[in-house]
């Protein structure tokens, strides 16, 4: 384990969101919005800086309170955590810019309705920054109980954001989300309890050294995995996700589908492939793979049946979560494909965050202007809202996995891993899922490309919203063009077997 002391910059990336969340709450909407946008940019710069320093000097740890790990809590920085941190910052900045336009006073709206948006804007910023801060705590913490608290922060703020709209649908999906996510965290906490009573340490790095296969370890990892699966909304516990993601205001949908999902998935990956490597049985990985497979097909089929765009995107998230879980069976076997599986799974989750955030932003812009998101009424949208449809098409490319997008790289690596480990059925599944994804994306694009009815003018959407969704979708494509940089970062202190990937990266 590396013992280089990290700079205080890592603390700032965690604490700055909380600090500005508090300031946003104190300052009210107008100043709060400004604080929010400025913080988002500062955070991006900070995390990029942190990424560079990790890239140059390798992984590091930071002892909070000066008590290092068994007694206190450590922050650890390695390739995976810095990558997650960085993409949260990039996606988060785009979402912040988008929200900057979204919650502004709107022309042509009734005064009351505008007041509603103003109130939503007031509370959006503190809640969003607490979610962001919670995610940063989660990515950097190396203490399993500290991670529990971080998970609770993320879920509470996510639930409050879902309920922000105040409509019955929003309240209902927030309540359902709440019960499930709380169940998930309690089950996770039980797993933490088992681990601590068996080994007497909470630090991930120390646990890795003392953990032994056996009844207790199996029970603990099973409980923690169950809890995190509930939180990530893998099939069969996915039913809460679509209403929650679809009924929220657009920036919130982007946060949930893009970032919050990534948080619990990240933790699961870290637990499975760093801490519990010796404990996990291959059959468990296969089980998660089967669930993922059902999620891919079921989610995509459900997405095809939806008549509302946001609902369709939410079901698409269910399917894409399935792809992320293919990482587990592909990695469980000990062979040459593991590097591809590891890289592919992580890469897929990152590019999904970018693409899905972009798609939800466009869907939100359309709702903003049209007041609805019924797909069948999208006729002529390509003429009336060209930037949005273009951004949606780019994001769609990544969701389908067309080259040269980030989604393509992720899927390609997973495919390669499936072939190399001899599990060809997963390769078939990946292809089938992509075809289904193409169906639901092209269904939307086809309608928007039809000629507009005469007399319909261009949509009036604030430029900030248009540009931020466009930037987000460019990122989703850029991830495909410049795949080496994220993969190189991922390699730093990576737990698995990157040697086999050397050739691919170069």
């Amino acid at each position: 384990m590396t013992q280089i002391i990290a700079s205080h910059a890592s603390v700032w990336t965690i604490m700055l969101p909380f600090l500005s969340g508090v300031l946003c709450f104190m300052a009210g909407r107008r100043i709060g919005t400004l604080i929010g946008v400025v913080t988002a940019f500062i955070l991006t710069i900070l995390t990029l800086n942190l990424g560079v320093s990790v890239f140059q000097s390798g992984p590091s740890r930071y002892a909070i309170g000066g008590w290092s790990s068994p007694l206190g809590i450590d922050i650890h920085l390695d390739g995976l955590s810095v990558l997650m941190l960085g993409f949260t910052a990039i996606v988060g900045t785009c979402i912040s810019m988008y929200a900057f336009g979204y919650f502004k006073d709107r022309k042509g709206l009734k005064k009351e309705k505008n007041k509603h948006y103003a109130k939503m804007g007031t509370y959006f910023w503190p809640l969003w920054f607490f979610a962001w801060g919670g995610l940063n705590v989660l990515f950097l913490s190396s203490d399993i109980f500290n991670i529990y608290v971080a998970l609770e922060i993320v879920s509470f703020s996510a639930i409050a954001l879902v309920a922000l709209k105040g409509s019955v649908d929003a309240l209902l999906s927030a309540t359902r989300y709440f019960f499930l996510t709380l169940l998930g965290s309690l089950v996770y906490l039980f797993g933490v309890g088992f681990l601590y009573s068996a080994y007497g340490v909470l630090d991930l790095g120390l646990l890795e050294t003392v953990i032994r296969p056996g009844m207790i370890s199996t029970v603990a990892i099973t409980l923690m995995t169950l809890g995190l699966i509930i939180k990530t909304a893998l099939f069969p516990i996915h039913f809460w996700l679509p209403p929650a993601h679809a009924n929220a205001p657009a920036p919130v949908s982007a946060i949930l589908s893009g970032l919050v999902v990534m948080g619990s998935f990240y933790l699961l990956v870290r637990l499975w492939f760093e801490t519990f490597t010796g404990v996990i049985m291959p059959v468990a990985g296969q089980l998660l793979g089967v669930l993922g497979a059902i999620a891919i097909l079921g989610g995509a089929l459900q997405a095809l049946r939806q008549s509302r765009l946001k609902m369709m995107l939410a079901y698409s998230t269910v399917a894409q979560i399935g792809y992320m879980f293919l990482l587990f069976p592909l990695l469980a076997g000990n062979s040459i494909g593991q590097g591809f599986a590891w890289g592919g799974g992580i890469y897929f989750s990152i590019s999904h965050a970018c693409a899905k955030a972009a798609a939800f932003m466009v869907a939100g812009s359309i709702m903003y202007a049209l007041g609805h998101d019924r797909i069948k009424d999208f006729r002529g949208l390509a003429q009336r809202f060209p930037i949005g449809v273009f951004a949606f098409a780019l994001a769609g490319m990544s969701l389908m996995g067309l080259p040269p997008s980030g989604g393509f790289i992720g899927k390609w690596m997973l495919l390669k891993a499936a072939m190399l480990t001899g599990q060809w059925w997963y390769a078939l599944l990946i292809v089938a899922g992509s075809i289904l994804a193409a169906c639901y994306i092209f269904r939307v694009l086809e309608i928007t490309l039809k000629a507009a009815n005469p007399g319909e003018k261009a949509l009036h959407i604030p430029l900030r919203m248009q540009l931020s969704s466009l930037a987000m979708s460019f990122f989703a494509i850029l991830l495909g063009l410049a795949a080496t940089i994220p993969l190189e970062i991922l390699k730093i202190d990576s737990p698995v077997f990157f040697q086999s990937m050397e050739g691919f990266i170069k």
Partner: protein, 328 residues
Amino acid sequence: MNINIFDLLLAPTLIFLAWQMLRARDLLVSIVLFIIFGVLVSLAWVQLQAPDIALVEAVIGSALTGALFLGCLGHMESHRKKIVIEKIKISKGSKVYDCFLSVLVISMGSILSWSVLTLPKNVLGLTDKIQSALAKSGVENPVTAVILNFRGYDTLLEMGVLFLVVVSVYALHAIEPVSIKIQPRQASRVLIAFLHILTPLMILVAFYLLLVGGHAPGGAFQAGAMLAGVGILMLVGGVAFSFNVERWVLRFIYVIGFGSFLLIGLGVMGGERNFLEYPEYLSKKLIFLIEFLATISISFILVTLFAGCSGFLNYGKSNSGTVRGVSA
């Protein structure tokens, strides 16, 4: 440690209470059983040599949570103008489902229990390490040392959770003007007299708990919850006081606990000194300052949370009973 007869009686009673609480026909009975359950659980904490947790359980886990439930139930019933008649219903309506679930849950419980029996008899733990580091922590009570120094980061985030929830409760009522309203009914004279005695007493007790936290069970959460109890009594009894979140003073009070902890943590950082690493000569004072400010925040936050789920937080049509601007 050997088992005694008290434990053998208490443990099954707790299980029985939990079971009865969830299946009681009347929700009010369920909630009362929940409060009793909480009190008995705090007895179990005493048996398990955890007086700190016994205090918190009695004050927060049982009393305050019970008040939240009672407030919520009472509000929902009054809101409907008729008592909510609620039958115990099984979700999917079938006995088969219940049986299946019970089998699942029982097998889960047995696997977990069985694995407890395989636990090593005597675990390393961190007791010795904590004892040796205690001198440097600025407090003598090991639990307080863990909470505010060794694992102060957790506690900081926990204050963050409390603050976050108060923001969320306000956000739930975001569409309408928000302020805490008092019940239009007249306060009882006896209750007011009681509050006249109780309020100074509780402030005294809270302060005692705060001070004693350094070397004996007690601390900010217990003290804050004590003060919150007085606030809740005032609210329920109809004593005139009201909050208005539009005023910055109230928002500042919500923020001060979490905010000051955060700023102190960042303030001591620099050079060789890490985040939340208090200088040794200052650590006692800084910990007390953090706890003191946290107590104030916690008490107001808890009262607001109670108000939020028992209808004292104003929402819907603006109520004529609302008193605005009377300072808290």
